[in-house]
């Protein structure tokens, strides 16, 4: 692979993302691209490792949510510059997730955290918000060709809507093409199993890790690769030498 020598110090991109400094992250990315840096190199060697570090700091309770989200914002700022170049090269996001709080439930902070962690992990996230009817989930899964649909519920009386939504996905013939993740204060692994969902996590960072595992296990990257396409999941996995 041809190595491009840059004047721009790309360690600053890593640092800016870890420190949640969106302005610097954007400036460094802009300068690097102007010098001919390869978008994949920026993502693989600087942006994803930076967000991995942020995720670790959050997991170890060294970071609070604001630091996590500011890092995510810095990552997105840099990625927005790269996205058009990636699309031109046919690179796909890690995966596509549709997320929302189920019908009748207005609690959305936990769901927002999961959405932020998924975005940080390179997923294209469609956030439907709170109080989402089953048919809205179905429409969005169809429209976005989602790999994963994630439901959140905070109330015991809205938990049954998770099952109703799974039934709606089945009725629409979508259940086999999308994995269902569930979470929220009253939800448990047992409940996940009981309603026929595919995965459960009790933390936001855990949800992102599970989502990554799902897309890798789905062999989505392999499927895309067969078609001559690349994915961020594949790149991330290859870069880390895992799975």
């Amino acid at each position: 692979m041809e190595k491009c020598v840059l004047m721009t110090d790309l360690k600053k991109l890593h640092k800016a993302i870890v420190e949640g400094d969106a302005k610097t992250a954007v400036e460094v990315t802009k300068a690097a691209l102007a010098e001919g840096a390869k978008p994949l190199d920026l993502i693989q060697n600087f942006m994803i490792p930076a967000m991995d570090e942020v995720g670790k700091l959050f997991e170890e309770e060294e970071y609070f949510v604001p630091e996590l989200l500011l890092s995510g914002r810095a990552m997105r700022g840099a990625f927005d510059l790269i996205r058009p170049l990636m699309a031109a090269q046919g690179v796909q996001p890690t995966g596509r997730v549709v997320i929302g709080t189920v019908q009748g439930d207005l609690h959305d902070i936990g769901k927002n955290l999961v959405a932020a962690m998924l975005e940080g992990a390179g997923f294209e996230v469609t956030d439907l918000g709170a109080d989402v009817a089953p048919e809205k989930f179905v429409e969005a899964v169809k429209a976005k060709n989602a790999n994963i649909v994630a439901f959140s519920a905070m109330l015991t009386v809205t938990m049954p809507k998770m099952q109703t939504t799974i039934e709606a996905l089945k009725a629409a013939g979508l259940r086999n093409q999308v994995k269902v993740m569930v979470g929220g204060a009253p939800i448990s692994q047992a409940y996940c199993d009981q309603i026929g969902a595919d995965a459960y996590s009790d933390t936001a960072s855990g949800a992102a890790a599970i989502a990554r595992e799902i897309v890798v296990n789905q062999k989505v990257s392999a499927q895309f690769a067969e078609k001559g396409e690349k994915t961020l999941a594949g790149i991330a996995a290859a870069g880390k030498g895992t799975k």
Binding site: G104, N112, G129, T156
Partner: protein
Amino acid sequence: MSKEKIFRNLAVSGPQDLIFGFAPKPVKCGFDLTIGAGTVFPEVNFTLPVMDVSTKTWPEVIAHYEEMATNILKRAVAMKVPGIVLEFEQLPQMTETPEWGAEITALLERHLKQNYEKYGLRGAARITPADIRGPAGVKGVKPVMRHGELWEKLNRSFDLCIAAGGDLISIESIGAKEVHDEGLMFGDVRAIVFALGVLACRDMTWLWSQIVDKCEKSGHSVPAGDTACGFANTSMVLAYQKLLPDVVAAVDRAMAGVRTLKAVECGAKGPSKDCGYENPIVKAISGIPISQEGKSATCAHFSHVGNMSSTMCDLWSNESVQNIRLLSGNAPEAYTELLAYDVRLMNIANEKKQGKIFQSWMIESDQNVSAIGTILAPESVYTIAKAIVAEETDYLRTVAAGKAALDIIQKSVDKKNLNLGKKELQWLERLHKEFANLPKDENVLAEEIFGTMGHLFDPECYGLKVAAAAAK
């Protein structure tokens, strides 16, 4: 029309006047119940087990409420409680179909009446419609607060529940939550202050003026109060999960006091609602009785202030528990017993003139465990309340409450009473700087926040004129 009465002085002469069971302005309600006149009563809150709420399941829902009301009051009589409040916190579906909420209100009133007539059990029902306005949390949709189908349903829910005999009328209103949530998530102090001190206070004034009017016209319902559940409880719960700094949650709690006070300035009489941990500030300023939750609400909330929160309460609540089977009976009746023991201790302490001693143990138990505990001790509450009434506008009062809380936390850290970790101390320092840089003029902040978060809220829904919005 707003009949706002702005408090310029405190209702108590010092922290020594803040004690459980006694409020400067007791409230009479329901079936011969007087709250805040020297006795603490249990307030039992209960909800459905895992089930769908729909037309199809409605008979089952009613059966649950019949069972819960019967068993709670039976246990209350057995425990010889001096009186009781039942709280019916409506699920969104019960406010969206106002007749449903009213049906359960009438059911609870019937049970309270029967127990009063048969056993002399004094009691009242607190009815809390769900604030379904907005809708909140829908991506890309700015909440609509003052008109539309959702507001009409909420408005009708108040009317029907009052007509059904509701004794105490409350709500956990959510005006400005869309900005406050974003502020919390990004640790953006300016957004948090703007949400609480400008938008939320405006919404409270608009909403509570109407609730008070409705209650006054009814002749029997008491406009009880609101809570910053969607605000400071969100930050508190996130802080306990180590997702937000404890110092942010503590400052947020102090500032929420100004917002919750607005209901009283519009005519609410108390008791303010249980999950408003900021209520002691409201009590110190206005003198109304308050409900609180803590160590006996672990079924619903985790907190570090389970003893502290009881130190100034007039009603003592379990927050919420599902109607599920336990060995001693169903959970709501089991929690009734738990609350009965708690209030019995508090009342005996007061009867023996040893309430302050008992209170001091509960303060000491929690004061230095967390920053929230530090700012909720009676002396801190008194200091924050004084800082609030010294300022003129809601915005300046909110800033003053935040600064007072910061000073209290800093002093406690400096004296090595409160032990905060490195990250918390960094945030404490950051908060000092952020508060020092807040503009004096709320309009300056309004323009700024509209510039950064204008996609989240509609200023007109808060009766707010923003030049940048008008220019669009």
